[in-house]
């Protein structure tokens, strides 16, 4: 008898405690979840902020977020940081995006450059579907999306001698890195796709051991590059080009010209210029760092140690 009362009481106490833990912040409502071939896809909404997540537990897996009432406004710092690419090439006409996420980049770029052709490459058809249904991602005569592994797309595009003025590599999420998209050989193939004033921007990591390996590999393929970083999050953007990087004066001029256009999307380009450092002046990885190649690319294992 005593025992059963105790059990009931424990049950009540624990359920009260549990519910208080979970209800303390405004609870995110899951409005869609599905298991695709590659991952769990979740769409959550909380206080008007809708986010795409690729896993439940970890907080670093938010792929893309959108304000339901103001879908134009860019929410993520890293998506804003990507616009620093325009300081290297202000007028891209052919844009390639590897890794779709919620499709925010594609939508925004179409608004800024309505005549530019935008090609989105995404390995997971379910992600494209979710982007269309929940994040307003759209395709038209200028915007296409291709379901393909990024590496294969790049290889085939290089064979067809395609060129792009802006290539965005955004295929890495916090949990899993496609290791064949970090190697020297892949970067060489991607380099072939860059037009003469094309810019390549990669959204990658700044905290783990992988930082050094990745930096050394980019430098080996492209020479010096810009690191765009702020201290608020663990992302960094690598900006590089086959042409020499623009100098401070040119960057300031371009920033001024772009300021108004980008302000609409809550991007402060003047701020971004202050977050850019060239590896010409600051090289913050050891000189003898091993390069990532098709033969040696344990990127996920290197990323563990952060």
């Amino acid at each position: 008898m005593n025992n059963s009362i105790l059990t009931v009481m424990l049950g009540i106490i624990s359920s009260v405690m549990l519910s208080s833990i979970f209800s303390a912040p405004v609870q995110a409502k899951t409005i869609h979840s599905e298991r695709s071939l590659y991952r769990n896809i979740l769409v959550e909404e909380r206080r008007g902020l809708r986010c795409l997540k690729f896993n439940v537990r970890s907080s670093k897996t938010q792929q893309s977020c959108m304000l339901v009432d103001d879908p134009q406004r860019l929410v993520f710092n890293y998506t804003k940081m990507l616009f620093s690419s325009l300081l290297v090439n202000p007028k891209p006409e052919r844009i390639l995006i590897v890794g779709l996420g919620g499709g925010t980049m594609s939508n925004t770029l179409h608004q800024i450059f309505p005549n530019a052709t935008i090609t989105n490459v995404e390995i997971d058809p379910a992600v494209i579907k979710v982007a269309r249904e929940y994040f307003g991602f759209f395709e038209n005569e200028h915007i296409t999306s291709v379901v393909q592994d990024g590496r294969i797309f790049v290889k085939r595009a290089a064979l067809k001698k395609k060129k792009y003025d802006w290539i965005i590599l955004d295929a890495f999420n916090g949990d899993y890195i496609p290791e064949h998209l970090l190697t020297k050989e892949f970067l060489q193939e991607t380099k072939q796709l860059l037009s003469s004033n094309g810019v390549l921007s990669a959204n990658t990591f700044s905290v783990s051991d992988l930082y050094n390996f990745e930096s050394a590999t980019y430098k080996a393929v492209f020479g010096d590059f810009f690191n765009v970083r702020n201290n608020r999050n663990s992302n960094r953007i690598i900006l590089t080009s086959i042409k020499p990087l623009p100098d401070g004066k040119l960057i300031a001029e371009r920033a001024k010209a772009l300021a108004n256009t980008l302000a609409v999307f809550d991007v402060n380009i003047a701020d971004l210029t202050s977050q850019m450092t060239s590896t010409e002046t600051v090289q913050d990885w050891p000189e003898n760092t091993r390069l990532l190649t098709d033969q040696y690319s344990p990127a996920n294992l290197l990323n563990l140690s952060n």
Binding site: I123, Q148, D149, L159, E179, F186, Q295
Partner: protein, 225 residues
């Protein structure tokens, strides 16, 4: 002299188990690296693993068939060693001509499912068939008593599958962090060849002793006459 002969003879079974263990280790190590080798041309989608696992299972099944057949005619440790040497040699192209093999396949076949299937066939079919021959051939060499054949086969599978498990985990957790893919494959190949040679040397040593022993017996018999 008979004593010495027994001493050498008693190491034959442990040697066979060691060889079976190593072949299990190498098979899975190579299969795991297969994903790495195909990725630059065919990506890392789920169907890449589909292709690789299909080809490995298919070739192993043919290998079991061929190995069993081969073991019916004058089975010997010498031939057993030869299987290892052949396996080691046919693994080498995986390291040294994979680019050369995969490029035309990539160009000819747009669909990366069939591309990766053909490429895994071209790279892995022959070595894996040969590696598959080892298991049934080991059973033939190990079984002397019909009543114990199940037990012997069970222990052999235990040893070789344990090797496979270790080959998988050690390759994927540690070796890829330290070495290049081609170096790991080359080491697997050398291990297979070295084991094959050691089986043949062991066989020779064993034969020599047998001859010595029988000579001795003959001599003793002659002395008695």
């Amino acid at each position: 002299m008979t004593n010495k002969n027994n001493k050498i003879q008693q190491w034959q079974n442990p040697l066979i188990y060691l060889l079976a263990f190593s072949s299990g280790f190498c098979i899975m190590g190579i299969e795991l690296l297969g994903g790495r080798i195909l990725a630059p041309f065919f990506g890392s989608s789920v169907h890449i693993w589909g292709s690789i696992i299909t080809v490995f299972m298919l070739s192993l099944s043919f290998g079991y068939l061929a190995g069993g057949k081969l073991s019916t005619k004058s089975a010997s440790l010498n031939r057993y060693g030869m299987i290892f040497i052949c396996a080691g040699i046919t693994v080498l192209p995986v390291a040294f001509s994979s680019q050369w093999v995969m490029e035309p396949i990539f160009l000819a076949i747009e669909d990366s499912r069939y591309g990766s299937l053909v490429a895994s066939m071209a790279l892995f079919f022959i070595p894996t068939v040969i590696l598959g021959m080892i298991s049934p051939y080991s059973v033939r060499l190990l079984v002397t008593d019909k009543n114990k054949s199940g037990q012997v086969a069970g222990f052999l599978y235990f040893v070789s599958t344990l090797g496979s498990a270790l080959g998988t985990i050690i390759t994927s957790f540690y070796l890829v962090l330290l070495f290049e893919v081609n170096d790991i494959i080359t080491v697997f190949s050398s291990i297979l060849v070295a084991l094959g040679i050691s089986a043949m040397l062991f066989n020779r040593l064993n034969q020599k002793n047998k001859v010595n022993v029988s000579n001795e017996i003959n001599q003793q018999g002659a002395a008695h006459e």
